[in-house]
Amino acid sequence: MIAQPLTIIGGKLVLPTGEPQAGAIRSENGRIVALGDVAPQDGDTVFDAKGALVAPGLVDLGVFAIDKPAFHFGGITRAALMPDVGPPLDHPARVRFAAQSGKPDLWVHPLAAATRGLEGTELAELALMRDAGAKAVATGRAWIADSGVMLRLLRYCAMLGLVVVTHAEDAAITGKAVATAGEVATRLGLPSAPAEAEALAVSRDIALAELSGAHVHFRQVTTARALDLVRAAKARGVRITAGVTPAHFILSDLELVGFRTFCRLSPPLRRDSDRKAVIAAIADGTIDVIASGHDPRGPEDKRLPFADAEPGMAGAETLLPLTLTLVRDGEITMARAFELLATNPAKLLGVAAGKLEVGTEADFAIVDPVRPWVVSSDKMAAAAGNTPFDRRPVEGRVTALFKGGNRVD
C-alpha cells in the first residue's frame, strides 16, 4: 500500500541525540523525506501533534505472539517474532507466512529457529529461512546446551550475516527451576536455580562469539554478574549486544510472594541488587535493547500452582511507559529511551527503521510522555491480561501511530 505524502506538524521530534526538538516531519511513499523546519506541501495529509512527542515507532525484539491490538496500543510498529510458535519457525514456508502476517500496519520480522524443532541438536535451514524473510536467528526460549552445536551455529550465522538471539540460562543448572535461588524461593518452597546459571551461559556464548565472529544478541541479561561479563566483552570489542524486559528492571523476586503466577517469567525475577544492576547497565550502555517479551497467556496457562504455570507476561502495552520511568528517574535521556526501544533493535534486524532520519521508514508513534493511566489486567488490548503490573499507575501513552506514512486506526 502506497501512502499519501504525510506531514506531522506541531510535535517535538525525538531525534537520535539531544533533547526532543520542536519541528515537523514529512514522508513520501512511506519514507521520511524531510524533518525539522519543514512545511506541508499541497496534497499532504497533515497531522497536528499538538505538542506531543513524535518518536520512531517501537521495534519490539522478541515477542511470542502476534497481538496487533496490544502492539498498536503500545506504539509498536514492528515486532520480531520468536520462533517458539506452534509449529516452530524452523521451515522457510512458515517464515514467509509469518513475515506477511501483520502487513500493512504491523511488520512482523520472524526470527528463524536456530535448530530443527528448537531441540538444540540439528541446525535448521537458516539460509533458506533468511531468504524467506527471517531477519535474525533465535535459539528460542531455551539455551543450546551442546557447545559444539552452538559453535557450528555461530560460524554459519557469521557467514550468513545473521544475528543470533540467544536465551542465556545454563539448562543443566536451571533444570525445572521456576525461581531464583534465595530467600523468597526458600520460603515459598519453589524449585530454584542460582542466578549464576545466567552468567555461565553468557560466559560460554561470549567465548563462542569471539571464536566464531558471529554477532550474538542476549535477549535478556538480568543479573549483575552476567552484565559485568557483557560489559567487559564489549570493551574488548566482541560483537555482542544485550537486551532486557521492563519486568527485570522494575520487579524483583519479592513479587513472587503469594505465588503470583503473572510474575512467573523466564528467566525468573531476580533479587533486588540484580534489578539495580540492570538499571545501571541500561544507563551505561551495556544493555542495548528493551523489549516487551510479549507473551499473552490465558487462565489455562496461568491460573495454576506457580511451578505448573507457564512463564511469560503480556508486555506490549506497558513497554513504553515502563521504559519512560527510567527517563523520569534521570537514568537515561528521551533520545536514549527510543534508541533502546527502536533504533538498536532495528539495527540488529537490519531494517531501515527505528529512527527519525531521512530515508528510513515513516513509522511514527505520537507520544504524550506524561499522560497518566492505570494498567488494568481486565481492560488490556492484549489477547490476555497476564501483566505483573496490574493496577500500577504509569505515565506515557501513545496517542496516534503511523506505519509507513499511514495512520494506524
Binding site: A185, T186, G189, L190, P191, A307
Partner: protein, 360 residues
C-alpha cells in the same frame, strides 16, 4: 510417655488445671476472646500464624489427646458437617489421620483420591475445587504436589481449607503435631512454648515441606533450630529463616535436645543429589553412635515414612523411651481434630466466632 528432665509438680498442676476447664475452651483467658484467638478462615501455612495462634491450636489439641486415649473416642461437635479430603498426591498416614480426626468429631468425611497422573494440570485443579465447593463441603483438606496449590484453591472456595502438604512449601499440621509431641515428651504444661529447646532437623531440607513448617513453628515458639543436609539438599539462604545450617551432622547434633530426621524425597529429585543411600547413611544416618553426640536424653523424631537403615537405624527409631515417632502419629490425630474443630466454629455459629475469619 517417656520421662523428661523438666518435670515439676507445678507443671503438672497447671496442666491438669488446664484440662479441667470446659472441654470447648480449655485455654480460656490465655488468648484473645472468641474468634480473635484464631482469626483465619484457612490453615494454609504456619507462615500465616502468629506465635499465640500456634499455641492456641496446640492447647486446643490437648483435650483431643485425652479423648483419644479413652475407649469411646467420639463427639458430635461436627455432626452434620461434610469434610472432604482432596488428596492430589498419594498419602497414607496423613489421609488416615485426617479421616479419623473428622470422624471422631462426628463429621461426614469423604476422601477423594485424585492421583496426580489423572489430573491434567490446572484447569482440572480449579475445576475440581469448584466442584467440591458446589457440593457445599464445610471444610476441605488438600494435599497437592505443587507449592502454593492449596492457597490457589483456598482463593476459589467458600469454606475453610486445610493444607495437608503443598509441594515443597508447607505442611502445617505436621509442624503443629511435632510441637505438641515435643511438649508432651518434655512434660511441659498447657500454654508452654519451646523456648531454648535445641532441635536439629536433618535430611532433605530442600524438598521438605515438613522442614519449612517446622522451622517456622519452632522458631516462633523460641526453639534453637539447626538444619543439617548435604549442600545439594540445603535451600539457599535458609539462615534468613532464623536457623543455623550445618553440613556436618556430628556438629549439628552437639547439645541437641531433639533430633528430627527426614527422609530423602527421591520423587522430587531430578538427577543425582547424593551418590548412594549407603554413602548418605555414612554421613547423615542417625545411628546409635551418632545419637550419642546429642544430649544424653535427646528425643528422636521422624515424620514418616522412614527408610530404616538409610536416614535412621532401627534401634534408634524403636528406642523405647526416646523415640517419639509413634507419639507424633498419636498427636497428629489430636492436632487435626483441633484444626477442624477451630476452623468450623464459624460455620457452627459458635458464639464469638461468627464475625471473624474472613482473612486467610
Amino acid at each position: 510417655m517417656p520421662a523428661g528432665n523438666r518435670l515439676s509438680a507445678d507443671d503438672l498442676t497447671s496442666r491438669e488445671l488446664g484440662l479441667m476447664q470446659s472441654p470447648n475452651q480449655p485455654s480460656a483467658g490465655r488468648y484473645p476472646a472468641g474468634g480473635l484467638a484464631f482469626p483465619h478462615r484457612d490453615l494454609t501455612g504456619i507462615g500465616q500464624l502468629a506465635r499465640h495462634e500456634i499455641l492456641y491450636l496446640l492447647d486446643e489439641a490437648e483435650q483431643w489427646v485425652d479423648l483419644n486415649r479413652q475407649s469411646k473416642k467420639k463427639t458430635d461437635l461436627l455432626r452434620g458437617l461434610t469434610i472432604i479430603n482432596a488428596f492430589f498426591e498419594n498419602s497414607t498416614r496423613t489421609l488416615l489421620s485426617f479421616e479419623i480426626a473428622g470422624k471422631r468429631l462426628g463429621a461426614d468425611v469423604v476422601n477423594m483420591h485424585a492421583a496426580q497422573s489423572s489430573v491434567k494440570k490446572g484447569e482440572t485443579l480449579i475445576d475440581t475445587a469448584m466442584t467440591i465447593n458446589a457440593m457445599r463441603a464445610d471444610a476441605i483438606v488438600i494435599r497437592h504436589a505443587s507449592s502454593g496449590a492449596v492457597r490457589l484453591i483456598a482463593e476459589k472456595v467458600d469454606c475453610p481449607v486445610l493444607n495437608a502438604g503443598d509441594g515443597q512449601h508447607e505442611h502445617p499440621t505436621q509442624a503443629l503435631l511435632d510441637a505438641l509431641a515435643m511438649r508432651h515428651a518434655l512434660k511441659l504444661p498447657i500454654g508452654s512454648d519451646l523456648n531454648g529447646l535445641k532441635v536439629t532437623i536433618c535430611g532433605d531440607i530442600l524438598h521438605s515441606r515438613v522442614a519449612r513448617s517446622n522451622i517456622l513453628s519452632l522458631t516462633a515458639l523460641g526453639a534453637d533450630v539447626r538444619v543439617c543436609a548435604p549442600p545439594a539438599l540445603m535451600p539457599e539462604e535458609v539462615d534468613v529463616m532464623g536457623v543455623t545450617p550445618f553440613y556436618d551432622f556430628d556438629a549439628a547434633l552437639k547439645g541437641a535436645n531433639v533430633v528430627m530426621m527426614l527422609r530423602l524425597q527421591q520423587e522430587r529429585m531430578s538427577g543425582q543429589f547424593i551418590p548412594s543411600p549407603r554413602e548418605y547413611r555414612h554421613l547423615y544416618g542417625l545411628t546409635p553412635e551418632r545419637l550419642a553426640k546429642a544430649e544424653p536424653d535427646a528425643f528422636i523424631m521422624h515424620p514418616g515414612p522412614m527408610n530404616r537403615g538409610v536416614e535412621i537405624d532401627s534401634t534408634v527409631a524403636d528406642h523405647p523411651t526416646r523415640s517419639l515417632i509413634t507419639n507424633q502419629v498419636e498427636m497428629g490425630v489430636a492436632i487435626r481434630m483441633a484444626c477442624l474443630e477451630v476452623l468450623t466454629r464459624r460455620t457452627r455459629q459458635v458464639p464469638g466466632w461468627d464475625a471473624v475469619g474472613a482473612a486467610a
